[in-house]
């Protein structure tokens, strides 16, 4: 069928074309954002385009951004794989009259008009650390299984975790940080290595949505459930089995669909030239959303703690 | 024109005929390699197949052995028609082939190589190593090889032994027709003699043998019938006794042979290259060698005598450990080819395919690759115009048969390939030219041409060292022949020395060897050719 005869391959009705480029397609996290975005486009009257690369690669992301600029979208929201490499192309976008935004991950030195943030690094690291420390009575050695070695947001969370642990839990200590890439099998094997290397290990943190279930699985497979506590940034569905048998003490995330929803809402605002208020009412389901003008940042809210009781409330 | 003759001979005894091929045609892109060849082999005969390079000999046997499918024509063995292009059908029919190049697998042992494709099995599935080794041991002994070699990796064998092993492979199975495509090219006379004895013994068993060789002297000893191919056609099939070498050569080339007698005055003593006390651990020692301006010096020795090593040392490929080499009045250290080339030494390597040609590249490329400094500006940018001029010049001067300088060398016949490699060594008219087996696998016509080129180079003042296992070649070319034995010089002979002298010096003077049948054949042929 013809594609450039109006809708331009987007879903939703008329209104501004809001395009979102995730870091990578096909992971539940971004697919959930896609779902929220679609819903918002329908509710708020916008066109939603979701287009992501097959690998988490800044170059591939740039190509997709270019094809979206060629499509003359009105708003371009990106979750950059490499925050530093986005500014040039976002500047191009701005020059062509497109409103650049970032969502999920920021590109701080760019011309983006707003950053839709899910939670602050502080908030996330606090939630992670507190969840784990509750299980270990605030003391003991723990280790982190992170993913991409250069992932900006993960690294900033780790930095905050170190700081927060040192301040709040002086008897606890981060003994090692390893990087498993976006590979669950590798996360499992590295978590086991960590348990072997530190027989007195008390906890493990999986820093991203593949390593959070990974560390839990490692503990379960090693038969250390109950002896070693785990937590991590994980999606409800993938964490559910581990939450149920106790190999994960709880996961930290945010309402990802709401994040997608908020992205569309923010896109519509900037495309219509409406300024953000200090506190914004977006929809009935979303809590009041704060805006920080000095950082040009919208904050979805506090992170969400996922336990076995609320895991079923989410379908991603 | 010769069909009549062919059909005549083929009707001699159909009953004893093992293999019959009729009307075989084969075309390669642009080349009609065979144009309707009729050919047959009787039980218990050696049928020699001769012809110039590119006449189609290898193509014919490839079709017979199923390595290639003919465009037209048939091959029957024992009354059964063979499936074209099916090696297994040919093998099953009892056709065993030794191809021009040894076809061994370096990582497999000799025993495995010999039984490859038709392994002896134990319990139906697994290879029966013991039985294979036992059978191989006997086979190797028959070819004059040590049975211990059965378990040696083929890659660890020297080329000549590899060739013998691939011959042994042909004998390993029930063979009815044995095809040998230039088996002797890289063998020494002794090894050839052994081979002939084995051929005789299988003949006695009723095996038919197809024997291809450019050494016409061998045919005298081994062949019963001779078929001459020219440009893909059979020009004659006759009993060997009805043909003289001279007639054969004339049938091959299609014209009368000219008088070929070299008489050169011995050049004056004017040393261009002088080697003193040259030695390399494990291969040769105490070699003194002088090459004079305008002189062709032969270097002769049996396998292991170190003559090839001396040649390679003079070109800096495998440098000598001890001794001095003086070229053009200056002492040189030949640590690599670069040093040798600077000193004005050029070399034609023995193994054309491996050491000589760049098959997938053009004639121009093949010639200029050795002279990049000369054919470039400041040694950096290729001077393509001059490159072409030089290549085209050689194409004409040494009569390389090719459409043009851009033709790929891999598409040329062996003799023409050899001329291309020779051209490379001639470009800068070297002061010293080292030739290793310059006419190996080259037909009589091209051989004469190459000899003329070498002699004219000497006439122009170059010193030439010819390492050759072909005594007739040395007799014709060399003003002097140096003989080596077991890594040491073992005598020097002036032009006109008999082959028996050279051979006995090379083989060891203590107990005089009776001249072999091959030697006698050669001596007689030399006589015959020289007296028209």
């Amino acid at each position: 069928s013809k594609k450039n005869d109006g809708l331009g391959g987007s879903s939703g009705g008329d209104g501004p074309k809001v395009a979102f480029v995730p870091k990578v397609q096909g992971i539940p996290y971004f697919e959930a954002m896609n779902k929220g975005g679609k819903q918002a486009a329908k509710d708020l009257g916008a066109q939603w385009i979701y287009k992501g690369p097959t690998t988490a690669d800044p170059g591939a992301q740039t190509d997709i951004v270019k094809s979206l600029l060629q499509q003359r979208v009105d708003v371009l929201a990106v979750a950059p794989n490499d925050p530093d490499s986005m500014p040039p192309i976002l500047r191009d976008a701005k020059d062509q009259g497109v409103h650049p935004m970032t969502s999920d991950t920021d590109a701080p030195n760019s011309t983006r008009e707003v950053f839709v943030n899910q939670a602050t690094p502080k908030g996330i690291s606090k939630a992670l650390t507190d969840t784990l420390m509750k299980e270990t009575d605030g003391k003991g050695k723990y280790a982190i299984v992170s993913c991409g070695q250069t992932a900006e947001n993960l690294n900033s969370w780790i930095k905050e975790q170190k700081k927060y642990t040192a301040e709040k839990y002086p008897d606890a200590k981060i003994v090692d940080i390893v990087y498993a890439g976006e590979d669950e099998a590798k996360a499992v094997s590295m978590a086991k290595d960590l348990m072997n290397a530190h027989p007195d290990l008390k906890g493990l943190v999986g820093e991203c949505t593949t390593s959070a279930p990974g560390v839990a699985k490692a503990v379960r497979e090693a038969g250390k459930t109950g002896k070693i506590a785990t937590t991590g940034v994980g999606t409800p569905k993938s964490m559910k089995p581990y939450l149920e048998d106790g190999s994960s003490a709880g996961a930290v995330l945010w309402d990802v669909q709401a994040l997608g929803y908020l992205t569309v809402w923010a896109g519509k605002q900037v495309s219509e030239g409406k300024p953000f208020k200090r506190t914004n009412r977006v929809s009935d389901k979303l809590p009041a959303v704060k805006y920080f003008p000095e950082r040009k940042e919208l904050l979805l809210g506090e992170p969400l703690r996922i336990t076995k009781d609320n895991a079923d409330d989410y379908d991603y | 024109m010769t069909r009549a003759e062919t059909s005549q001979t083929s009707e001699i005894s159909e009953t004893a005929t093992l293999l019959v091929s009729r009307g075989v045609r084969k075309r390669y892109s642009g080349v009609q390699a065979l144009r309707g060849v009729d050919f047959d082999v009787h039980a218990g005969e050696v049928h020699a197949l001769v012809g110039e390079n590119g006449a189609g000999k290898s193509t014919l046997i490839k079709i017979v052995s199923g390595a290639e499918a003919a465009d037209a024509g048939t091959v029957d063995v024992g009354g059964r028609r063979l499936t074209p292009g099916d090696t297994n059908a040919a093998l099953a029919a009892g056709i065993a082939t030794v191809y021009q190049e040894p076809q061994l697998f370096g990582e497999l042992t000799v025993a495995e190589n010999i039984f490859l494709g038709r392994e002896l099995r134990r319990g139906g599935r697994l290879i029966d190593w013991g039985a294979q080794r036992a059978r191989v041991g006997a086979l190797l002994e028959r070819l004059g090889l040590d049975p211990v070699l059965a378990d040696v990796r083929a890659a660890d064998l020297p080329v000549a032994e590899q060739q013998l092993v691939s011959i042994a492979k042909a004998f390993a199975h029930d063979v009815r027709v044995l095809i040998l495509d230039e088996p002797s090219a890289i063998l020494t006379d002794q090894e050839v003699q052994t081979l002939f004895r084995v051929i005789d013994s299988v003949k006695a068993e009723g095996v038919g043998v197809i024997y291809i060789s450019h050494r016409l002297d061998e045919l005298v000893v081994v062949a019963d019938r001779v078929t001459v191919l020219r440009d893909g056609e059979v020009v004659a099939t006759r009993p060997a006794r009805e043909l003289t070498v001279r007639q054969t050569a004339e049938l091959m080339t299609g014209h009368a042979l000219e008088e070929r007698r070299v008489s050169r005055d011995a050049p004056a003593s004017d040393p261009v290259l002088e080697a003193r006390g040259l030695g390399a651990a494990g291969s040769f020692h105490d070699v003194d060698l002088v090459l004079n301006r305008g002189e062709v010096v032969g270097l002769y020795g049996l396998v292991g005598s170190g003559v090839n090593e001396v040649a390679r040392a003079l070109y800096g490929i495998d440098p000598a450990d001890t001794g001095t080499v003086t070229v053009g009045g200056r002492v040189r250290r030949l640590r690599g080819t670069r040093d040798a080339v600077r000193a004005g030494v050029a070399m034609l390597p023995a193994n054309r395919k491996v050491q000589g040609v760049f098959a997938s590249k053009s004639i121009g490329f093949n010639i200029s690759i050795g002279h990049l400094r000369l054919l470039s500006r400041f040694g950096v940018a290729m001077d393509r115009r001059r490159e072409k001029v030089v290549a085209a010049d050689f194409l004409r001067r040494i009569a390389i048969k090719a459409p043009g300088v851009h033709s790929l060398v891999g598409t040329l016949s062996g003799g023409n390939q050899q001329k291309v490699v020779l051209a490379r060594s001639l470009v800068e008219r070297p002061d010293v030219l080292v030739l290793e087996e310059p006419t190996q696998g080259v037909d009589v016509g091209a051989k004469d041409e190459i000899h003329d080129i070498v002699l004219s180079l000497a006439d122009q003042g170059s010193a030439v060292l010819v390492v050759s296992s072909d005594l007739a070649e040395l007799q014709r070319l060399a003003d002097r022949v140096l003989v080596m034995r077991e890594g040491r010089p073992a005598g020097e002979f002036p032009r006109g020395a008999s082959q028996a002298d050279l051979l006995s010096a090379a083989a060891g003077g203590d107990d005089e060897e009776a001249p072999t049948s091959l030697d006698e054949a050669r001596a007689a042929i030399t006589e015959e050719v020289n007296q028209p």
Binding site: K2, K51 | S29
Partner: protein, 380 residues
């Protein structure tokens, strides 16, 4: 006389003294195509050339792609116009791919299983070196660029030393250095990209240039890609080094007997591969305005795409065969095909279909060449 039905005898004696017009290298198989001068023969020749010569086939495919995309575009089947400005902007992606393809060309042509898996890691590591010299040490780019190139050449020389002097198989040597270089790059930078103001200013190196009558083209096409392509072409086609390289790749024993310094030629091929990787590092740092320690290894890395481009461009893994034109056309074809696919599919489908298209392109173009070469004749 023979009863041949295959043309005249003169044609059949193919190795006779032909005096036909000179033919370019690689066209030897055409020397006896009948009816050389007739119009029909010329057409046949053109067709043969198209089907047996990879470069010609790729160029034809490129034309087909552009026409087809234009047709889809005018028919309204694309999400956005497939126009010149878009094609020009797609060149940005093509530049690093093409330059690394050329690096692989040099190494693969040098023969004996030559291949360089470490190009991506060298891009990462030299990119970090570039970033550090510019940002931490405050070097001017005029100084930092040559220093980076030198660093790249050094890294490449390590590969070359392992392969040419010590006799490591290229696959193993460059696999080892791929691991080592990417690790060093991460450790030395503490996993942090360098994106300070001086590095961000480097983006001006890769801004767009306006040409009269043409769309804006990324500057690196003129400042980096064209010089690299032309220099590599001159190097392999017009210099003595090129001759030696193809000689060594075709038959290294014969090369040794022809007085070609085999090891040194191979060493230089790997060194040049490192040098070209450093060029890509400079381009990438400029383009993304940041030096990333995993710039060349993230995702699938840059090495596999570069090898894919080289192979698609007709470079033989067995050595001695490959042309600059093939690599450049292959890179263009892939870049523009990918760009077109993104406009042809909604949502994320496009980036998946890119995989399918590349795979099919690779296999089918090679298959077409292989089958027709067998039909129509050729050396192999």
């Amino acid at each position: 006389m023979t009863t041949s039905t295959h043309g005249t005898p003169a044609e059949e004696t193919g190795t006779g003294t032909g005096t036909g017009p000179e033919q370019g290298p690689g066209q030897g198989d055409l020397k006896d195509a009948p009816g050389r001068t007739s119009p029909g023969g010329r057409l046949r020749r053109a067709l043969t050339l198209l089907l047996t010569e990879r470069v010609v086939l790729l160029a034809a495919l490129l034309v087909v792609l552009l026409v087809w995309m234009k047709v889809l575009d005018t028919g309204g089947y694309l999400l956005a116009p497939y126009d010149l400005p878009y094609l020009a902007s797609a060149l940005e992606t093509m530049v690093p791919l093409c330059i690394l393809g050329l690096a692989e060309l040099l190494v693969m042509v040098s023969g004996r299983g030559g291949i360089d898996l470490s190009v991506g890691a060298m891009v990462s590591l030299t990119g970090m070196a570039f970033g550090y010299t510019v940002s931490e040490w405050g070097w001017s780019p005029l100084l930092a660029v040559p220093a980076t190139l030198a660093a790249g050449a050094l890294l490449g020389a390590v590969n070359g030393f392992l392969v040419a002097r010590l006799g490591f198989p290229a696959l193993i040597a460059t696999l080892a250095t791929y691991y080592a270089y990417s690790s060093i790059s991460l450790v030395a930078s503490g996993n942090r990209p360098v994106s300070t103001a001086p590095v961000r200013d480097l983006h001006s190196m890769t801004s767009r240039v306006s040409l009269p009558g043409l769309p804006d083209v990324p500057m690196q096409v003129f400042t980096f890609l064209l010089p690299c392509a032309v220099l590599v072409w001159l190097l392999v086609d017009r210099t003595t080094f090129g001759r030696k390289l193809y000689g060594v790749g075709t038959n290294d024993v014969a090369a040794r007997f022809a007085d070609v310094p085999v090891a040194s030629v191979r060493l230089r091929a790997f060194t040049l591969s490192g040098l070209l990787s450093a060029v890509v590092a400079v381009v990438t740092v400029g383009q993304f305005a940041s030096a990333r320690p995993d710039a060349g290894t993230v995702g699938n890395g840059m090495a596999l795409p570069a090898i894919t481009i080289a192979v698609l461009g007709g470079v033989a893994i067995t050595g001695g065969i490959g042309r600059v034109g093939g690599v450049v056309v292959a890179a263009l074809l892939v870049a523009w095909l990918n760009a077109g696919i993104l406009l042809a599919f909604e949502g994320s489908e496009g980036s998946r279909v890119q995989l399918l298209a590349l795979g099919v392109l690779l296999v089918c173009s090679a298959l077409l060449n292989s089958v027709t070469a067998r039909r129509l004749g050729g050396l192999r």
